[in-house]
């Protein structure tokens, strides 16, 4: 069947063509199309019956006709050839080279869809990764095997934050990072792609990076394949070659929009904001490929970047993402406008795996309590700031005024830091105590009395 070209298209519209009279085509199989000018396109069977086969064409159906379109069913799913040589290479969304070098030749070709991991085979992520960013390490720490997205918005420095994490991430006790990086960009601008490429170059890790790029002006349907190809490469590096893989994907919003575009063409019933009902399952297929496996040395840690449409965290894309990922780092416009970098809005940020990766045996014994206290004190401080905006700072009580000062110092000194500033977790915790010492000890009930005695600098004593 692989060698037969069919010319039986009966209809074509917006990225989909229907082929008549091709019996026995496997669902999900890859398709090669040749148009009237002899150009090749790729596609995928999304519905198969003896009398009609529905094919999704990655490059779209522009300039196709029904009479001079030849279709070949390749009888296998989309596969990515993998070998050690993928490190340092740049591919397009479908896994073909875009760096001018020859394609990867390997007998080992993997189905990009992967297979779901058996929950019984998973190992729980516990190893603390130090990112050198206080707002993350101190309050929303990352662990090896976690998926922790950055929720951002147009114009916010999410790319710089992601690049800083890639540069600085390491396990405690390790001198330099032993990560390899899989970087996937879909719907990203050429400028964004170049920014990452240069950032990897500058930090000298380019030969440890695999890039999969489907940029904003490239075929939309190919975007659905890009994260899958990237994660197939990541799984190979992590679970076959024992690497610790950091996967950075940007921008998940562009991915979800591509999914919606295709769903509308297929006539799927829309759920919220026109996104198909299976958006959750589809995103989960991608995010859940992060993790660790028992008896395997490598791991996949995932940092997807997504821009929240109109900064709305309840929009379906961030919303469903938040239900799948193990927390989120939220960047905020207000802090960014005040010149705070990285503008991490800590209250809606969260790391679900933090509870098991910090504290005694991992970082420092006071870490969980300090984090909890910072959250509580800052929440209270913001309440006071809201009050001050109404009644004026002069009307505040002395205690409240202290909170106001705490809020400002916390934002400037703790959240804010340099783009090249790599703080150890101990520096972060000491800094936290410096700030907490601005508040009276009796206001700090999330930390224990012993911790107060040891670390509090006695602002009122």
């Amino acid at each position: 069947m692989k060698n037969i070209e069919f010319r039986t298209a009966t209809s074509a519209q917006g990225g989909l063509i229907v082929m008549g009279g091709v019996p026995g085509v496997a669902a999900g199989s890859r398709v090669q199309l040749r148009d009237h000018a002899g150009r090749l396109r790729a596609g995928l069977v999304i519905r198969s019956a003896d009398d009609a086969v529905l094919v999704e064409v990655f490059e779209g159906t522009d300039e196709l006709d029904l009479e001079r379109t030849w279709v070949r069913f390749l009888d296998e799913p989309f596969k990515l050839p993998v070998s050690r040589d993928i490190l340092g290479r740049v591919f397009n969304g479908a896994g073909l080279p875009r760096d001018g070098r020859p394609p990867i030749i390997s007998a080992d070709r993997r189905d990009v869809n992967g297979e779901p991991l058996n929950p019984a085979a998973r190992a729980y992520p516990r190893e603390f990764i130090q990112t050198g960013i206080s707002a993350i390490d101190g309050m929303n720490s990352l662990t090896r095997g976690q998926k922790l997205p950055i929720f951002s918005g147009g114009g916010l420095p999410h790319n710089r934050v992601a690049a800083q994490i890639v540069r600085q991430a390491k396990l405690l006790g390790e001198e330099s990072s032993e990560f390899v990086v899989v970087f996937a960009a879909f719907g990203a601008s050429h400028a964004d792609a170049r920014f990452f490429q240069e950032s990897f170059e500058e930090s000298g890790v380019l030969n440890k990076v695999v890039m999969f790029l489907n940029l904003a002006d490239e075929p939309v349907i190919e975007r659905l394949l890009t994260p899958r190809a990237a994660l197939t490469a990541a799984e190979y590096l992590a679970f076959d070659l024992d690497y610790h893989v950091l996967v950075v994907m940007t921008d998940m919003t562009a991915y979800a929009e591509a999914l919606r575009e295709v769903a509308v063409l297929r006539g799927d019933v829309p759920a919220r904001k026109g996104y198909p009902g299976y958006l959750y399952s589809d995103l989960a297929e991608i995010y859940e490929r992060a993790g660790r496996i028992k008896n395997r040395r490598g791991s996949i840690t995932m940092i997807p970047v997504l821009s929240m449409p109109s900064d709305d965290i309840t929009h379906p894309i961030p919303d469903l993402t938040g239900y799948i990922t193990e927390g989120q780092i939220v960047l905020g416009r207000e802090l960014a406008n005040q010149g705070v970098y990285p503008p991490v809005t800590v209250l809606p940020s969260l790391s679900r795996l933090m509870k098991d990766g910090v504290g005694k045996n991992f970082t420092r014994e006071d870490h969980p309590h300090v984090a909890s206290q910072l959250f509580a004190s800052y929440a209270k401080a913001l309440e006071v700031r809201g009050l001050a905006a109404i009644i004026g700072a002069e009307e505040l009580s002395d205690a409240d005024r202290r909170y106001l000062e705490f809020a400002n110092a916390f934002e400037r000194r703790f959240i804010g830091q340099g783009e090249d500033e790599d703080r150890s977790v101990y520096e972060t915790l000491n800094l936290a105590w410096d700030l907490l010492s601005m508040l009276p000890p009796e206001a700090l009930i999330r930390v224990s009395e012993a911790e107060l005695a040891k670390y509090h600098k006695g602002a009122t004593a």
């Binding site: 496997a26 299976y278 109404i390």
Partner: protein, 590 residues
């Protein structure tokens, strides 16, 4: 033998006459399993539990002759199953780290021998009815597994095996049915998951399900046999709260259904459960726990089936006379699976794409909870706790709003509280419980006759403080009278000293009802003593600086449930603290 006509995502159209709706089918060369959901002429429409990639029109299909059923017998506890009851550990051994398709592994281990002790009242020649107890197997140290007759079987017991070790497939007895046929009995039987298991009659729920969580037990109680929902946006601590319930509740069996949730969360449960002890029996928690895991990246149709598999397992243990809690995380993912299949069937969507039967399916599902008199004559209960994941935290969306009408206890989680790291983030204004009256009886008899009043007093205080907080937000705290300031302060004390509870703190994680009540009365005692002073003219400013207030906030994590006496000493000292302050005040003002 039939054949495949069309493949569309998880739906497959088959040429397969004479199949029954609900029947299991095996499809394709790799043998994917699914169930028939529609018939049209000679064709049948089936939804498959596994990914359909690679299937081709023309491949074989066959009907298996039975609906989706589960195996019920020894070997269930301590296990982890997928959405169609495949044992994940055995699947792992057989097919490796990834879920291979078409793997068929029996749900219960076939080679393991169980020590069966026949019930001494069973005599050959006596009649035997469905649901009767044939004997017992000590499955784990804390759980005695009763071997039940299949619910629909009636007849005369011809023989029953003597005490000894048997595998679940060995015949342990024979029954002569009314029509003369002879039926063999084994240690296990099958039951279709979409049919509720029969019982004699429903009974009133009387006992509270104690979870050790103060905001739940003291403020919004749930009864054994009751229905509860936990709605909350992401990051509100839904999973944490459910794990706390699974960990500490006083049920005999806990069934945790991870329906379309994170893989790592299940790993977390799998890793921490064996390390923890059941606070009521002292045995490892895993011995009473059973997991059904269909993570979000596993096929969507099996996700829809998983909650039915879970509830059927729950009913089976209920029929043995046990109190069972089933936690379903999350019913929203189940509803979405329903929506996805409905969408592919081209059914008319009503709200947000959900099919019109969403409400009735949800209601029918929750109705499988309850306390019943079992066929064997004892009492058992299934308590159902469903998590709801409303998109964007909007409680008016279809799944939350339908669920809210069905359940009796509503533990609403709030994003605002979670953002301020107030855990558990159960919102005391949005939540409700229809079981307070029944629970009050239990608390009055077992803990303190004053429970209902004290609970109401604390809730009044919280409601009053909400009003005051609004004023403060407008004009500042200085605008309040001394009495109002003290009310606000006392409400803060209740929030931080009582409602907030740390799941990670060893002492605070679980609170016995005695400890819960002691803390509740302690906080109220401070409020009342202070109010007395304020009414005598002492300024609230002075009271707020009392070290007692900061100390009382720590009591919850200083005294475990076994150290109530120490707590009571501290409570007894409260009036003295205020008298001291009063004396000081009188001296300075004199």
């Amino acid at each position: 033998m039939g054949k495949i006509l069309e493949i569309n995502g998880p739906l497959v159209k088959l040429e397969l006459p004479e199949t029954v709706i609900g029947e299991q089918v095996r499809v394709g060369r790799i043998g994917l399993v699914g169930e028939v959901i529609g018939r049209d002429g000679n064709t049948a429409l089936a939804q498959l539990y596994e990914d359909t990639a690679g299937l081709r029109p023309g491949e074989v299909a066959e009907g298996l002759g039975w609906p989706l059923s589960v195996e019920l017998g020894p070997g269930l506890l301590n296990a982890i199953f997928d959405g169609v009851q495949r044992p994940l550990n055995a699947v792992w051994e057989q097919s490796g780290d990834r879920m291979a398709r078409g793997v068929s592994v029996p749900s219960l281990p076939r080679d393991k021998r169980w020590h069966f002790v026949p019930d001494e009242h069973r005599r050959a020649g006596a009649s035997l009815a469905g649901g009767d107890i044939l004997g017992t197997v000590q499955e784990t140290e804390s759980i005695l597994h009763r071997i039940l007759t299949p619910p629909l079987l009636h007849g005369e017991l011809l023989e029953l095996a003597p005490e000894g070790d048997y595998t679940i497939e060995e015949v342990i007895g024979r029954v002569k049915l009314a029509d003369g046929r002879i039926e063999k009995l084994r240690l296990f039987h099958r039951w279709p998951v979409r049919t509720p298991r029969p019982f004699k009659r429903r009974d009133h729920a009387v006992q509270p399900l104690l979870t050790g969580q103060r905001i739940l037990d003291t403020f919004y109680p749930l009864l054994k046999g009751g229905k509860a929902a936990i709605p909350g946006p992401f990051g509100a601590g839904k999973t944490m709260l459910q794990q706390q319930i699974a960990r500490w509740c006083n049920a005999e069996i806990v069934i945790y259904v991870g329906c379309g949730e994170r893989g790592n969360e299940l790993t977390d449960v799998l890793e921490f459960m064996p390390e923890l002890k059941d606070p009521h029996t002292g045995r490892p928690l895993m011995e009473r726990t059973l997991l059904v895991a269909n993570t979000s990246n596993m096929p969507v149709v099996a996700r829809e089936a998983s909650v039915y598999v879970g509830i059927t397992l729950a009913e089976y243990f209920r029929d043995q006379g046990l109190d069972v809690v089933m936690v379903a995380d999350s019913t929203s993912r189940w509803a979405e699976a329903l929506r996805e299949v409905a969408g592919r069937l081209g059914q008319m969507p009503v709200e947000e794409g959900y099919p019109a039967y969403l409400g009735s399916r949800l209601a029918a599902f929750y109705e499988r909870a309850g306390r019943v008199e079992t066929l064997a004559g004892g009492h058992g209960s299934v308590t159902l706790i469903g998590a709801v994941s409303p998109p964007g935290g909007d409680f008016s969306e279809p799944v939350t709003s339908h669920t809210k009408e069905i359940i009796q206890t509503f533990w609403a989680l709030s994003k605002e509280l979670a953002d301020a790291r107030h855990y558990p983030s159960v919102d005391w204004l949005e939540s409700f419980s229809g079981y307070v009256g029944s629970a009050a009886k239990w608390w009055a008899e077992n803990i303190d006759p004053n429970w209902e009043n004290e609970r109401a007093a604390a809730l009044d205080l919280l409601a009053a403080s909400e009003e005051l907080q609004r004023i403060v937000n407008l004009v500042g705290v200085e605008a309040l009278s001394s009495e109002q300031r003290w009310t606000l302060e006392a409400a803060g004390l209740i929030k931080e000293g009582l409602l907030q509870q740390s799941a990670t703190d060893e002492i605070d994680s679980f609170a016995s009802p005695e400890k819960q009540f002691a803390l509740l009365s302690a906080m109220l005692e401070i409020f009342r003593q202070g109010m007395k002073l304020v009414k005598l003219g002492a300024p609230a400013r002075k009271l707020i600086q009392m070290p007692l207030l900061a100390q009382a906030r720590r009591w919850k994590s200083q005294h475990s449930s076994d150290q109530i006496d120490q707590l009571k000493v501290k409570i007894a000292a409260i009036p003295g603290e205020f008298e001291k302050l009063m004396l000081e005040y009188e001296q300075t003002s004199a």
